[in-house]
Amino acid sequence: MSAPSTLLNETAGGAGRDLNAQALRADARRESLRLLALLAPSLFLVFAIIIVPIGWLFWLSLYDENGALSASNYGRFFEQASYIKTFITTFKVAFIVTGACVLLGYPLAYMLSQLPRRAASICLIFVILPFWTSVLVRTYAWLVILQRKGLINSWLIDLGVISQPLSLANNLSGVVIGMTHILLPFLVLPLYASMKTIDTDCLRAGMNLGAGPVATFRQIFFPLSLPGLASGVVIVFVLCLGFFVTPALMGGGKVIMWAMRMEQTTSLYSNWGAGAALGVVLLVVTLALLGLFQWLLGARATGVWSSR
């Protein structure tokens, strides 16, 4: 305690301290009310366009076609084998695509981060440009390249590498190739951003202490790039779970993912609840996964969309 406050305490006694505290509390309350008032419009917006529809979706999913409360929309997932199969396929595709994105995206982001600024920004344009092109257009382009009489197969046959065309489209491989291409920027961009922030002095210090290039990368650069990698992986994985266009066009009807099933079920059943239940399952699973990632990797991984 400084001298003036001691003086104040002595002159005004305990009552003065209380008054002071009260005034501070009231001020704090006013402050938070003001903040709340400032936040109110956006909070209301979030509530009206996110919380209410999701709550409604959940509510709808609890009704059967006769308008009675029931769990039949969820029971269906266990009665009909195709739903579980779809669920497994969705996760399988998400794992493979995320893995492929990491294998391709990490070296790419690393290269971008090591290039001189000007060269890096030109290369980044090549990463971002497809990002701006419609998913539908890119998927059809892949179909042209991958199908039996497409570019790759005709080149390989002309070169005599293969005699029978490879099955690249209308199956799992087509879906994986198409989705990897579309989702790659979602991994590369956060990873590149995090790699750029790695202090090169740390790397130099490591070298100075006798670490070779491999050890420097493995022990210093790689661990420091992990938060960026983790956030990229989370984004890609979560986006995979809800993918529709690419599997629908590239899968040849053999790779049915959850979002495609939602569309099918919504039009097949006369009650919205049937489709809503699929939506609720996807939402819950996605949130649970985000929670799991957060728990495993720490807040920084899932905190990409918070300020950094």
């Binding site: 199969k85 209308n170 040849g252």
Partner: protein, 345 residues
């Protein structure tokens, strides 16, 4: 649109109370599937009707029964008439989504009675046909669904529809050797057994007409089930393909007036015009979907050399199975779930 339609409604209401049937100046909104089909309908049905009745016909596109259900249950009916698939009409009718039709205004003669109901009426036909590539098979390709199922005699890549389970089940029933008049009522488990035999040899399951067309056009498959309109387009574009209406599956489209439609009376008159032989005869002049009213073939409007290519011409109807909308109304969900379980195994 709201303010004008409200005032129109008010005027129409006023006129109705003085028992005046005149509709001149009314505006109705008709929804259909869009694309070349709706363009053809515009030329064949909508423009002539608007001119004859002195009304304005606005257009919209629909995704099907879901849209109607959303509008009717949400008390926000935008459309006065909308097109649907016949099985959707049958289902929507069971759900009570449509207004009753007045067959005093709509003349149902010439329309197959299976497509004339209290609250929905057929409007046009599409056929599911077997198409094959002539650069692979010459003219000795698979002609029947039994041929399509015969993988030894006709080796090659195959595509069937997975989105239209009911059509694929009808085709599967034909493949198991049933004559066309014995397909309905479909023995669903028997048809599924038939699907089970071919599913390992299906290289792609299509979910849209455009996809079916692309698979055949690019040679991704050598034979497929496909809608006749898409098959006709492929042929016109010069793709090496062949198809016929033998063992085709005729599926009807229908039109309804959604419950709570704002201009019901004008809609009824317009619908009467749409199904009349004169306007029905216009449709095959612009698109491969056949007229639902067989009297259209007696109007003399359709050139004789065109008639043989129209799926609903009496000669061609004999070769095909008509999808029974009411049968599928009651069995669709169960059959589709079983079908999905099977092809995703």
């Amino acid at each position: 649109m709201n303010r004008t339609s409200v005032s129109i409604l008010a005027v129409a209401g006023l006129m109705a109370t003085v028992a005046a049937p005149a509709m001149a100046g009314d505006t109705i909104t008709v929804a259909s599937w869009g694309g070349t089909y709706q363009e053809a309908q515009t030329k064949a049905f909508f423009t002539p009707t608007a001119d004859a009745l002195g009304i304005t016909i606005k257009q919209d596109t629909t995704n099907g029964l879901d849209d109607v259900r959303l509008q009717v249950t949400g008390n926000a009916v935008k459309w006065d008439i909308t097109e649907l698939g016949a099985d959707e009409c049958a289902r929507g009718s069971k759900e009570g989504l449509f207004e009753k039709l007045d067959y005093g205004i709509i003349d149902k003669s010439g329309i197959n009675p299976k497509l004339v109901h209290d609250d929905w009426v057929g409007i046009s036909y599409t056929s599911v046909v077997l198409i094959y590539r002539t650069d692979v098979f010459g003219d000795k390709g698979p002609k029947t669904w039994a041929d399509f199922w015969n993988v030894e005699k006709f080796p090659g890549r195959r595509a069937l529809s997975s989105s239209q389970a009911t059509e694929t089940l009808s085709v599967a029933a034909l493949a198991s050797g049933l004559p066309i008049d014995k397909v309905y009522p479909v023995d669903i488990d028997g048809a599924l057994k038939s699907v089970d035999k071919i599913r390992g040899h299906v290289d792609a399951w299509w979910t849209s007409g455009a996809q079916a067309m692309q698979l055949v056009k690019d040679g991704e498959v050598d034979m497929a089930s496909i809608w006749n309109g898409r098959a006709g387009t492929l042929k016109k574009e010069g793709a090496p393909v062949s198809f016929s209406f033998d063992q085709g599956v005729l599926t009807a489209d229908c039109m309804v007036i959604p419950k709570g439609a704002k201009n019901k009376e004008a809609a009824m008159k317009a619908l009467a015009m749409f199904v009349s032989p004169q306007l029905q005869a216009n449709l095959p002049l612009y698109v491969d979907n056949g007229p639902v009213n067989e009297k259209a073939f007696e109007t003399g409007k359709i050139p004789p050399e065109r008639i043989k290519d129209i799926n609903s011409a009496p000669e061609n109807v004999k070769k095909q199975v008509l999808q029974d909308a009411e049968f599928w109304r009651d069995t669709l969900v169960e059959a589709t779930e079983k079908f999905n379980n099977l092809i995703q195994q």
